[in-house]
Amino acid sequence: MANSKKLPNSFTSKMPWSDAKHPIWPATLFQLRRNLENRLFPEKLSLTDATAVLEEIKNLFSNYLTIPLDSLTPDEKELFFERFLLTEQFEKLEEARAFIVSEASNFLGIINLEDHLHLHLTSFENEFQTPFNMLQTIEKTVAKHLRFSYSSRFGYLTKDPFFCGTGFVVQAILHLPTLLHLEKFSQIIETLPRDITLKGLSADETYLADFVIVQNKYTLGVTEESILDSVYNTALILSEKELETRNNLKKEDIAYFKNKIARGYGLLKQSYAIETSEALNQLSMLHLGISLGLLESEKPFNYFDLFFSSARAHLKKCSKNKKDLKDNLCKKRAEFLRNQISSLDISLKNLYN
């Protein structure tokens, strides 16, 4: 049965990445997958057994907010997806499944989805040891009371064997518009270490909004420390290359970006209706324009606030008239962005010089 639902206050009081400081490397996500010993994995669990697992885990997170999945509307669930950039598959069955979330909403636990427990931590510092220690502390707290499914050969056992071993995935999220647009990226990819994989934010693996996710390729046959080192070093190299490229743009490259930025600004300021992907791609250009000093804003420009606000569930949440939204989401998004861009009082003086 659904418990009474309450989303954390931080869901309404601030946008997901408002604490991000670094314009190129705004956030890193740390994920850990675990299953309990001597239990079938969630998909095969009976409702009684799944409820027992849920209760056992939930009780260890008394300081966190537990939100049963069956108490959430599809829009609220999508809100979690957007906020934590989740990739988990949500099965139709929602009973005995829950989110555990910290009040600051930088930590999310998922119970009984693909595995018995997924731990997600978002960090806005470009330093890995502190968030990793935090994640380990949470894991050890659970391990004090519950035994995890483990074998000496495969390590921690997960439903998807591709995540067994450490069950640990680190994703550094980088905004790399100049590297991607100047087609330097394919050369750079060839120089990356073998234990790293790159992907985009959208399901079709394109680099939506010029975001590149640097992620460890292996979870088995490597240590947690080597995963951290490898993702950190690669993210550092890529963000430095992006910065270097921005600082050394050739005349023709500047002309190319000026055109892109001006068009992006025009689209966001004048659109009647705009799709999410188009909006996010144009916002990326605006963000670059501000970073390069080609655009000047009277008020602080928070790219990540606009980024998340343009996504479907967040846009719906912020809208007062929900009924009006059903068929007019693209119109609503365009209206929201028109208002936001206008309120920033952006000067294009440097762009046309």
Partner: protein, 177 residues
């Protein structure tokens, strides 16, 4: 009357491999045994295939805990319980190795010798004192085996993990003192 087995064209033993060679636009085909020295010299490596990929799997296996069959595991690529890992161990290792989901390619020796560590990360009772020393010993053994079998890629990986572990142990000793 029992048919005479096809013999290796190189050494007259029972043939098990069809070897085809294209020379000057012509295809030359010969049936050879798997340990034929002539075939070995032709392809430049031992041909009695010890590689993990050529192994066959028992497709009738079924997990006793969740009932998952080999066919299900192979089709879905996911397992349903911990025992599946034990039941389909060789197949899962093969899949992981073939799909580049591990830093090294496994061969059948590593799979059969269950003492060789594949998982190098932390364990539930996170490696303290004796466990750390035991893990170090088994990593060093695996390094020696990798070097003697000339698996240098794996050896390099193991050497790094040994360094990491020694650093951890040394660091802890320093803190303790």
């Amino acid at each position: 009357m029992e048919e005479k087995p096809i013999e290796c064209t190189g050494c007259n033993r029972k043939a098990s491999i069809v070897y085809k060679k294209i020379k000057c636009g012509q295809i030359y085909s010969s049936k050879m045994c798997s340990s034929c020295p002539i075939l070995e010299s032709n392809i430049g490596r031992p041909c009695n295939d010890n590689s993990f990929t050529s192994r066959e799997f028992d497709e009738t296996k079924k997990c006793l805990a969740c009932g998952a069959t080999f066919e299900q595991i192979a089709r879905e690529g996911k397992v349903s319980c911990s025992l599946c890992y034990q039941t389909f161990e060789e197949f899962l290792l093969y899949k992981l190795s073939e799909s580049d989901a591990m830093p090294i390619k496994l061969d059948s020796d590593i799979v059969r010798k269950k003492t060789i560590p594949i998982h190098l990360g932390s364990s539930p009772n996170s490696l303290k004192g004796d466990e750390m020393r035991k893990k170090l010993e088994s990593l060093k053994r695996a390094l020696e085996e990798s070097l003697s079998s000339e698996n240098f890629e794996r050896a390099a990986l193991l050497r790094d993990e040994i360094k990491n572990l020694e650093k951890k142990m040394y660091g802890k000793q320093q803190k303790a003192s």
